[in-house]
């Protein structure tokens, strides 16, 4: 066993014995952001939520198939954000699933759907938390979808089924969520010696590196669903604008 691994394992054992129950997962845990930051991130989310509610209302009014697709992208987030998947770093994390919806319905629609999932997880699973809800919504339901949407718009060109753009959009959107989480934690907990920059490196090592293979998995699965949607749309069995 390498020395680094040994240190990590010892600290993990120490952590397990200190915390009676390990029930959290990949979002920022309840109470783990100072109150100031809990409030700031919460307030920052509000305009996106308002825009998101409008966007969803507009999409629901378009037709029956838009409603169905909205159900699909919501279900996609529910499934992907509950699956804790092993990574080559030897720890687990979960994808976010917001890229697909951001591509199909725009980023702010996913802010609303992400909020629903994060509420479910913080209330029923003690995963994430109400005090950290704003920060978690900001990373998973705002930054992630906006990155996905931006990359998709930038790369799709005029192809009918821009698979590569979809893949990169979903993969990088997923990764961006965890980079944002690392940034949020490092602003709140700067390193005493190296400041925020040193601290961000530490959080990135924990979150973002583990996330890389999972982000690729999310990219692949998003392309699979996107392929089906494009096929059904071309056949005319899926009637969307």
């Amino acid at each position: 066993m390498k020395k680094k691994d040994l240190v990590r394992n010892i600290s993990l054992v120490a952590l397990f014995s200190l915390t009676p129950q390990i029930t959290h997962a990949m979002h920022i845990m309840e109470g783990f952001l100072p109150m100031k930051w809990a409030i700031i991130w919460g307030v920052l989310c509000i305009p996106f939520l308002v825009m998101g509610l409008k966007a969803i209302k507009k999409n629901l009014g378009k037709g029956a198939d838009e409603k169905m697709l909205l159900g699909l992208v919501g279900g996609f987030v529910f499934v992907l954000s509950a699956l804790k998947i092993p990574s080559v770093t030897g720890s687990c994390s979960h994808p976010t699933g917001v890229g697909l919806g951001a591509i199909l319905f725009g980023p702010t629609s996913m802010t609303v759907i992400g909020l629903i999932v994060l509420l479910f997880q913080s209330l029923l699973l003690a995963h994430g938390g109400l005090t950290t809800l704003g920060a978690n919504v900001f990373s998973m339901a705002i930054v992630g979808p906006f990155v996905s949407y931006g990359i998709f718009k930038l790369l799709k060109g005029d192809k009918k089924n821009p698979k590569m753009a979809v893949f990169l959009a979903a993969t990088l959107g997923d990764l961006a969520t965890y980079v944002m989480t690392s940034i949020q934690l490092s602003i709140a907990f700067p390193d005493s010696a190296g400041g925020m920059i040193a601290s961000i490196g530490k959080f990135l090592t924990v979150f973002a590196v583990t996330q890389i293979p999972l982000a690729i998995v999310e990219g692949i699965i998003t392309v699979i669903v996107y392929n089906l949607i494009v096929q059904y749309k071309e056949e005319g069995v899926l009637d969307i604008g």
Partner: protein, 97 residues
């Protein structure tokens, strides 16, 4: 059309391989949550930090927690299956005509 099916099958196997690979490559690894490690980093950076809020309710056991995670997946999978199933049926009606 068959092209899509074939491509999706390959993509699915690829995703599966990426998920399974760590279990084979890293035998004996903890596979704990990355957030628990983040908690460790916070303790290291700010040893005096006390979380100022507790979850209102926590699943009483690992079993109940996995039950609720399964419920989350089930809700999502139901929606996905229903919607894709509906489109698939329409697709069959169109292609069999």
């Amino acid at each position: 059309m068959d092209n899509v099916k074939k491509q999706n099958r390959i993509l699915f196997l690829l995703a599966l391989a990426i998920i399974i690979a760590p279990l084979i490559l890293r035998v004996g690894a903890e596979f704990g949550g990355s957030d628990d490690q983040a908690e460790g980093v916070i303790t290291e950076l700010a040893p005096d930090y006390e979380p100022w809020a507790e979850p209102l309710w926590e699943p009483p056991s690992g079993e109940i927690e996995s039950l609720l995670f399964s419920v989350q997946v089930a809700i999502g999978a139901l929606a996905i299956g229903y919607v894709l199933g509906t489109f698939r049926e329409r697709h069959r009606n169109v292609t069999n005509r």
